[in-house]
Assembly symmetry: C2
Homo-oligomer: 391 residues x 2
């Protein structure tokens, strides 16, 4: 019976996230695993106010079928956030995950090469595998990617696109330096490769810095993916794609064929929240809150592990990327950690081949201060038990 | 540059719906083209009441990421509408259009055969083409499909599934007789072919009748697609898939990879509306209103065209399927009709090869009574002009 399914289903990796979610449903586990925002910070009153206002003022036509590209009100607000963009270059998607799916639909035939950072976003790797893409990795450091390797890949493999998260990356929290971006843009033009810039964390910036986006460096040959899941709430499921119109028209066609349109109701509300300046205000308060959590985790890590682990303190986003001693296999450590009631994501799942390594990804935005302290302590106890077993 | 796109994009048919929508944006055109519900009948006050209630009572966690299968509250309500189904056999989708996309993801490799009714739902045909499926048609009459032809296709082409709309079909408004369903179920079992029953119009039933669903005839080997777009409002974008768990788990995996989840917020509201019995009440009032519109269109057709056209009066759904004299090419008639400020969908677009024919699909749910009368009159004038030109 199984052979009735398409090849892509047989290639589909079972989501590790799901395995973790299954495990950590146990009540007393502290989880640094998910990439979840802190729900106590959701702007419930603001949403309520705007929804009530909308319910009183929106015409019935709000609930009718509408065009696939999305509400012009929201597209206009989003266009303003980019240099030289118009609402014609914006498509509303069901979260940025659907942006990825649309990207695959538009560009990937079986066996086509695409390039990703190593490590990269798990759900993107899973999706690319589902489209039977030939996934090539380029090594990432805290300064950016290895552009020498990238040029070799661009030259020899002729990839359809390079999927990257240049700012506050998932899983590392790292950002590319400006020189890296400029060089990648140069290579993209030289070899005619699309740069897909996924930017879910850009707004969550804990230090002063100026991030240069590929929409400025490479407006015609780059696609930007964005989402309100980290800045407002995930459940609205509103993401967007920004791209040159020649690409956007194809994306819109794929969107229309996939699910006709995303709900306008939420789009109107988000547009209003943006227009009134309330999104920026809310993000400012998020940044304040998340910065303190980040500091708390940095402090706990320093206190518990000292110099036994390697990491950068992230200047934005939601994650610490921690390297244990080379001999530690963090996938094996995971089972011990769960016994100690602490969950994280093992580093290996963020690589194409899942080969074992000594990294873990820790999320700091979802846990409470108390849980951050206790959780890091538990992680250290789990590591000690692991080391004792593997001496 | 175009060659950078995937093959499926190059195969993607340009949506005729879009062409029509572009044309009929002109203000004074009466349109029977879209498959749109009547927005003046949307239960605005009911939605407002339920949303306000939800905003006051829902916990913040409603806005957090959640699992791909959908809210259990809604899945439970939906399971009750099927004989012997549980919430484990229901997946929430972004409209039933996403159900189609998930179906393609789960089953279609390039070149795989699928069977459709001739004629069939335009957006399904477009999507199947996008997945590079080998589409085989089986002729439909007002009693059901040609089961002799179907058996030949099942036997010789080994299709992955048979996609059908057995009740109040789009575009014809026709329903299969019980014997046809029983025979199709027998053939499905014999040749191990999945029956996909799309059921968007089932609730819009204007005469007494009992519709037997494939979830009863063929629970293990059938997939049911449903939607609230016709019974509540399209913009919530809530559809569902019902299938045996072995299929449903794969569908859920595909859903998760595609867009993680659909918004829970609307799912809670719809579950509440169902649970309180308010959906059935609303559908009853819809049926009353649409029945009168159907009667108005039947009367106008009789008055204007007499015996010059052939059609069945639909016992449910949203469409009349009208046959003009054989010599009329309704695609050519379309341009004249637009000059007369009346729009419809030419029959040819509902067939795989778009070969010319003398059918038109007329929607009767969206237009006002006044527009139904005037529109049918204009259609007759357009036909007369066409006939004069082609004598």
């Amino acid at each position: 019976m199984d052979s009735i399914f398409a090849k892509r289903v047989q290639n589909a990796p079972r989501s590790f996230t799901r395995k973790i979610l299954d495990v950590i449903d146990a009540k007393d586990i502290i989880s640094f695993a998910g990439g979840l925002p802190d729900e106590s910070l959701f702007p419930h009153e603001l949403i309520k106010k705007e929804m009530n206002h909308s319910l009183d003022t929106m015409p019935r036509s709000i609930y009718q079928y509408s065009q696939a590209q999305g509400a012009i009100q929201l597209r206009s607000e989003l266009a303003k956030t980019y240099t030289n963009s118009t609402e014609k270059e914006i498509l509303i998607t069901t979260g940025s995950q659907q942006g990825l799916d649309i990207l695959c639909k538009a560009f990937i035939d079986e066996g086509d090469t695409i390039v990703v950072e190593a490590p990269s976003y798990l759900a993107a790797l899973n999706l690319f595998a589902l489209y039977n893409a030939n996934i090539q990795e380029v090594p990432l450091t805290c300064n950016g990617i290895d552009t020498i390797q990238l040029e070799i890949l661009f030259k020899t493999k002729k990839p359809k696109f390079f999927y990257a998260i240049p700012t506050f990356q998932n899983p590392t929290g790292w950002s590319w330096k400006k020189e890296c971006k400029v060089e990648v843009a140069r290579l993209a033009k030289k070899y005619n490769v699309i740069i897909v810039e996924d930017s879910p964390y850009n707004a969550l910036k804990y230090e002063e810095s100026i991030e240069l986006g590929f929409e400025e460096l490479l407006p015609k040959l780059s696609v930007t993916l964005g989402t309100f899941s980290k800045t407002l709430v995930p459940d609205f499921r509103i993401g967007w794609m920004r791209a040159d119109e020649k690409f956007l028209k194809v994306f819109q066609n794929m969107k229309e064929n996939t699910d006709l349109q995303s709900p306008k109701f939420f789009q109107y509300i988000v547009a209003k929240i943006m227009k009134d300046g309330n999104l920026s205000l809310h993000v400012k308060s998020l940044i304040e809150a998340y910065r303190v959590k980040r500091n708390a985790m940095a402090e706990a890590l320093k206190k518990e592990f000292g110099k036994d682990i390697e990491y950068e303190i992230p200047t934005g986003g939601m994650f610490f990327w921690i390297k244990f001693d080379d001999k530690v296999d963090t996938m094996k450590l995971f089972d011990i950690a769960i016994e100690h009631k602490i969950a994280y994501v093992p580093g290996s799942v963020f690589y194409k081949d899942n080969k074992k390594n000594s990294y873990v990804r820790l999320n700091f935005t979802n846990a409470t201060f108390e849980d951050i302290k206790i959780g890091i302590k538990r992680l250290n106890l789990a590591l000690k038990e692991y080391n004792a077993k593997h001496e």
